[in-house]
Amino acid sequence: MGSTIAQGFAQVANISTVVWMAIGSVLGIILGALPGLTATMGIALMIPISFQLPTATGIGLLLAVYCGAVSGASIPAILLGIPGNPNAIATVEDGYLMMKKGKAGQAIGGAVVASFIGGVGSLVCLMFFSPLVAKLTLAFGPAEKTTLALVGLVIIASISGDNLAKGLLMGAFGMALAFLGTDPFSGQLRIPFAKALAHTPLAKGLDLTSTLIGLFGVSQVFAEMRKINQKTRKPAKVRIGNVFPSLKKIISMWKIILSSLGIGTLIGAIPGTGASIAVFMARDAAKHIADGSNGKLEPIGSGCLEGVFAPEVANNAVTGGALIPTLALGIPGDSATAILIGALMIKGVTPGFQLFGQNMALVYAIFITMLIANIFMALFQIIGVRLYPKILSVPSQILMPIVLVLSFIGAYAIAGQATLTGIYNLGIALSMGIVGYFLKQDGYPISPIVLGLILGGMFEENFRRAVKLAGGNYLTFFTKPICWFFFVLCALSIAMSVVSRKRKAKKV
């Protein structure tokens, strides 16, 4: 084991990894801080660059962007009262009140410390649990893998968006896109106008990176253009003041920290949930803890550090939690980790069953880069604390054209030396951008498409293998206890989603 850790360390112990991760961290913080830009979009835009780097360095860059963006979203939440993305939605109330009280520095510093605790705490959980989960999967055959892929699809479809049918439809749409290209078993071309397109890059199916960039980058630009002239709130002159909260204050919040860490990691580990759910649960738990502390802790909602700490620990704990199913099962925890899986697959690394058995050194390298990503996130956020109000004043009128060009060049660059493939990729990114835009406008969630696209291949391959092994007997899926477990999970997920939506509708 010691030598494997050393091999993992050797993969990241070079100046290139450190420099790229530092760049990724700063970019992530800026992306997270700018309203309209998300962690998922940031990772999608960085894939072409990570593709050019060695595997561990490339993954390190993406993780640095991920951690930076999740944490950076707290900056506008505190300074403007607008979350950079949904991850910081629960930080707004107390963070903005603290800013109004002249404690902006304390709020940002507290958010950074909380993010660091959340990130590192969940990393410990990731290091402990992911090998255990991966070990369990050694017993999985094609039938179990088929139902596992189904679980991933159903859970994310049932949780994302406000409408279960829309989520499921988008998951199916993603799978349909995954089936385009060459049939892995017979070599038959499965694309429309197969004769005409047989010798084009489309014969291999839709390029994953270009599709992701289109769905998350280009479509977001189009969506932002709809409201480009709306007045945006600019940061008032902010007095940053003291940045770090006292150690005594942090220690006094240990119950809040632990509960938020647990909630964040657990929610993150459930595929399809994500930070926006975890932050509200953590805040709610913190409220109960603060109310029962006999005045030792300030009440949540009064503009206090407790109200910033709880959601910020939780949203960064989600990053480590989401990586547990991502690495161990190949099932992404949220849309950002779905893109990470895509990036790994482009690098020829298949997360899940084989990764832990065959490439443990890379797994350790990923753990180490995750630690570095959290350290850099905290470091650069503290160093740049006085610069953020300036970053927030960059208008989206300038930002959006740059994001559009970055999306295009990202899709193109993944082809490397093959210019024709690059031009096809541009077409895919633009088409997917338009599709994604119109779907978003009508309230269709995008994440299930990505899941369908990533898990579609795994599902089909294992489904056909399982049925073939059973001699054409489709009931083979109902003869295995693990499959039953996954079917129950699917049913529970759908049932819970229906119940929670009905409750929501009643409240409205």
């Binding site: 050019q52 049918a165 740059i402 559009l404 060009v405 210019t419 633009l430 489904f463 056909r464």
Partner: protein
């Protein structure tokens, strides 16, 4: 949208049927469900869900936020320029297309509308930003060639011909030029008027294009389409 999705799933169903079924290579004993089965199930599932959404959305559908006329102009411009970018990049090349896309969108967005009377500014701005980026590009190419040739001939130590060093020099030179342009223009047009937005857009267009060229072409050796830039 449900109608579009219904149509898509119907077309997908017909397409899958037209493709025919193929079996796994080496499936003599049988058992492989074939390549058609899952896509057919998917298309039927998608069609049924779309029909369900068609009926439920009709009763609960909400209208999305309306765009102002200016936003409609800007939105259309973005779509059109994005299409033109993809269509023209093979013939015009990366540098001209990127530079023109950036200037057009930045200027239009900063002006908050697309107006007929701004046509002159759009044309001249595109030309200026293109000329600027070509000057910087040519300058960068010359530096690269000088260092490469000199190090190969032994005039300079081999280190000066390394990719890392050349990228650093070109990057610093570009940054210096951009900084000079920014500070000069800031003194000339310091107020928030059309002229100010005009030079801001030109600077963003040429600087972003050049930096992207340095990162992707020089650093990662991506074969960016040359198009009309033949040197």
């Amino acid at each position: 949208m449900p109608v579009v999705l219904m149509g898509t799933s119907l077309l997908y169903f017909l397409y899958v049927l037209s493709q025919g079924d193929t079996k796994m290579i080496g499936d003599e004993i049988g058992g492989d469900p074939g390549s058609m089965m899952l896509p057919l199930i998917l298309s039927i599932g998608m069609f049924v869900t779309s029909v369900y959404l068609f009926y439920t959305e009709r009763t609960t559908g909400e209208k999305s936020q309306q765009m102002t006329i200016e936003e409609k102009h800007l939105f259309t411009l973005t779509m059109v320029t994005a299409f033109l970018y993809v269509a023209a990049i093979r013939f015009l090349g990366f540098i001209p297309c990127t530079c023109m896309l950036l200037f057009t969108l930045c200027f239009a967005n900063l002006e908050k509308d697309v107006r007929k009377e701004d046509v002159g500014k759009f044309v001249s701005g595109n030309l200026f930003s293109l000329i600027s980026v070509l000057l910087v590009y040519t300058f960068g190419r010359s530096i690269t060639r000088v260092f490469l040739r000199s190090s190969r001939k032994g005039i300079l130590p081999a280190f000066f011909g390394s990719t890392g060093f050349i990228i650093l020099v070109v990057f610093l030179m570009t940054t210096l030029i951009v900084s000079l342009v920014v500070s000069a223009c800031r003194k000339r047009w310091h107020e928030d008027n059309t002229d100010h937005r005009y030079w801001v857009s030109i600077t963003i267009a040429f600087a972003t294009t050049e930096y992207l060229y340095i990162v992707f072409k020089q650093m990662f050796m991506v074969e960016l389409v040359k198009g009309i830039i033949i040197w």
